[in-house]
Amino acid sequence: MKIYYKATYTYKLYRMFIQELESFVTTLGNIALLGLEFLKGLRHFPTTFKSIMYQASRFGVSSLPITLSIVGMTSIIIAMQVAGEMVKQGAGNYVGMLVAILMVREEGVIMAGFAIISMIGSSLASEIATMKVTEQIDAIRVLKVNPVHYLFTPRIIAGTLMMPLVVIVASVFGILGGAVASNLVSGLTYKAYFDSVWFGLYMKDLNVCLLKSLTFGFVISLISCSCGMEAKDGAKGVGVATTKAVVWSFVSIVVLDLLFAAMFFY
């Protein structure tokens, strides 16, 4: 008796798994290739200051309101949750330290990362994807201009350089938000709060925070550009590429965050 194994659910699941694996490896490969091409092109600095400034304003200025809102509210929530209890337990003097450590080591960077992925990463990916499906990238190639140098280099440089600035502003804003929330919720004085801010912060924390934000900025812009370039088949392809860019960026920065935590604080 002939067994039609291709009709079985096990086989279909196996095929789906293989296709997903292929797609994963292809995306990873494309990101790596784009990263290499970007680094290779940096020798000639194939972009202009004007292009970088334009992209930097997009990364920094445009994303700042949403980033500050997210980070600010996160710190207020943390302060509201713990300040009252810590003051009751006699540890009110450490509320500032707790919020500062959380902001500088984790929340500031990761929340700013999420905000930038949602606002800028998705916009970058859909912009590149639209250019791809409307043959604008082919037009760049036919005009003998390297799209990696023209389109991606200013975006990746701007993303990498602006992320630390956004994170610094967001973290400071978060610490200030924590102070206001602690004062309102538990009556903790601003002096007591800010005196403790420096207790738990070391230069290493600030250095790691900067390194992490540089890495996140690079990874988010690289992934967004690369996923945008994978777009095909019209409007649907733009949607697929944008979703892919957001998902890959989210997962990547969480994995990188874990690696940073393991490398520097374990």
Binding site: H44, P46, D138, V142, L143, K144, V145
Partner: protein
Amino acid sequence: MGIEVKNLVKSFDKKVILEDLSFKVDDGKILSIIGFSGSGKSTVLKLISGLIEKDSGEIITSGGDIAMVFQYSALFDSLNVFDNISFALQERKDLRGKYTRKELERIVAEKLDLVGLSGIEDKYPSELSGGMQKRVSFARAIVTEPKIILYDEPTAGLDPISSTLIEDYIVRLKNETNAASIVVTHQMSTIRRTADSVLMLYNGHAVFEGTPEELMEQRTPYTKQFVTASIEGPMNMKG
């Protein structure tokens, strides 16, 4: 010499798109490539322009730049008309910094004049009609004085009057630049009004090669089916 294609082969995912295709276009001549959708017409242009790699065969050109006009213009929507047209002169590695702003302005004005669109340098593509966008893309294509110009369905989506205008500009650009041109089209009017010769593709093969007049004579079942737009004949849409 223009362009000569010899025994060109291209396949995607084991599906053969072009098989052993050969043709030649001299300088100052226009070859029209026709055929059903999916017959490999646009693939020929992408291979010649270097956007995709051939599997085998030869593409011999007389040197110089190759320009391409895309089906939906492919203008850069974040740049104005001036920056679109002067894009290659401003961004190409070997041309960057070679021209002053004044020279760029002169060149762009010259090219816009050639396509009958003077004074729209500051406009963005979204502010232009489809026909105007197409003409701006013509101006962008010829800014580096190419020796070969490729047109991918240049009249697609345009009204009959705009199509006629575009056809006139294709002939005008050929006369001005003496470039060898290839026009991929479905439209009989484009073939009649622009082509010096016609190549019909079906299933990756050339099934007709001759002049527009010979095409209209419908001597073969393929030309008869194409000219009469009949669903009866040797070519079927499934390919």
